[in-house]
Amino acid sequence: MEKKFDFKKFLSNNAIIILIILLALFVGCTTQNFFTETNGKNLLLNVAPRFIIACGVSGCLITKGTDLSAGRQVGLAACFSAMLLQSVDYSARMLPWLPDIPWPVALLIVMAIMACFGAINGCIIAFLKVPPFIATLGMQTIVYGLCSVITNNQPMGGYKQSYLTVASGTLGPIPFLAIFALIVGIFFWFLYNKTRHGKYMYAIGGNENAAQVAGVNVTASLIRIYILASCMYALGGFLVGAKAGGASTNTGNGYELEAIAACTIGGVSTNGGVGKVSGVLVGVLVFEVLKICLQFLGVDPAYTYIAQGLVIVIAVALDLRKYLAKK
């Protein structure tokens, strides 16, 4: 009886992952060039920025919150990066008076700006006690509106070469994007496992009232979490813009849905207090592998969209099941 239960539990916990692995194997066997270095690199380039964004959201989810403004913040960040890093001699430059800025400086500026949005999210949630779902939903529309206003709804392009190289360049065989993702991954692993902030975060997620009694400064921790999340969206948007060579108000649209679903698949449950960086990576991989597989098979993007939606629904349903079964 015990053994059978474990198998079922394993299946339900990892159903989606198993399905995707099967799909990948199927595609690999029936098509050519799937298990190649180019394809692997492609996967890595897609995974990297999504992983960074998902890491940002993970903190919000672990503390039983959410961040529905992630996608639009990514978009705004991409647009800010574009404005700061367009080639000086580009005819349709957004900010013609701006001197040439090195991309690390631009990145820091964008992170600082987006951190403000994170701080606002955090303050509304921690001080005004507005439910995160509502607070970030509001922020989502505000950010989108701001983006429209600032960019005048014009898509931007004409980036300077050094910015484009961030996305296309490599260090030996490893793409720069992957290095960014690696650094973020290590940083978050360290933060979540080896620092007080991480412990406080899990404590708040596990039982906010008990955490407060134990002396955890819940308000400060929450604000820090949302600020850090926004910094990750900034980095993600910066990289997404570099990769695409352009940015517009549509950039990042819907990214939060995938990021949250990826975290959920990866074990960051809405039960709170639980979640690992490795899980986030697995969740993001599931989505990107699914996309690449279907792309390789030449499937119409519309079907891919539907498939992704179904994966999200299954992830939430499994999480719901886990929640109800627990109680």
């Binding site: 339900s12 159903a15 399905l19 799909l23 039983k64 919150g65 959410t66 439910p131 995160p132 779902f133 509502i134 009232n209 809405t270 709170g272 279907l294 098979l297 030449g298 499937v299 119409d300 079907y303 891919t304 539907i306 498939a307 179904l310 994966v311 629904v313 299954i314 349903a317 499994l318 719901l320 099941r321 929640y323 109800l324 079964a325 109680k327």
Partner: protein, 66 residues
């Protein structure tokens, strides 16, 4: 800062948590409390089947078979 009075009890039961203690997701999940787990399993099964079908249809369509 809660102002409610608490009353003593011998053993706390697994009672429904307060509306205020849950986040948005959990408030949503609580609505399914009355649904037997079996139905949720069926729903998940249906979605998985749908996923497989969508992928297959997409593959077959791309190959021009469908």
């Amino acid at each position: 800062m809660e102002e409610e009075k608490t009353t003593s009890e011998t053993q706390k039961s697994d009672s429904r948590p307060d509306h205020s203690q849950l986040n948005a997701f959990e408030n949503f999940y609580e609505k399914f409390r009355k649904v037997p787990l079996k139905y949720i399993d069926v729903f998940i099964g249906v979605c998985v089947a749908a996923l497989v079908i969508v992928v297959l249809v997409g593959i077959l369509k791309s190959k021009g078979i469908l």
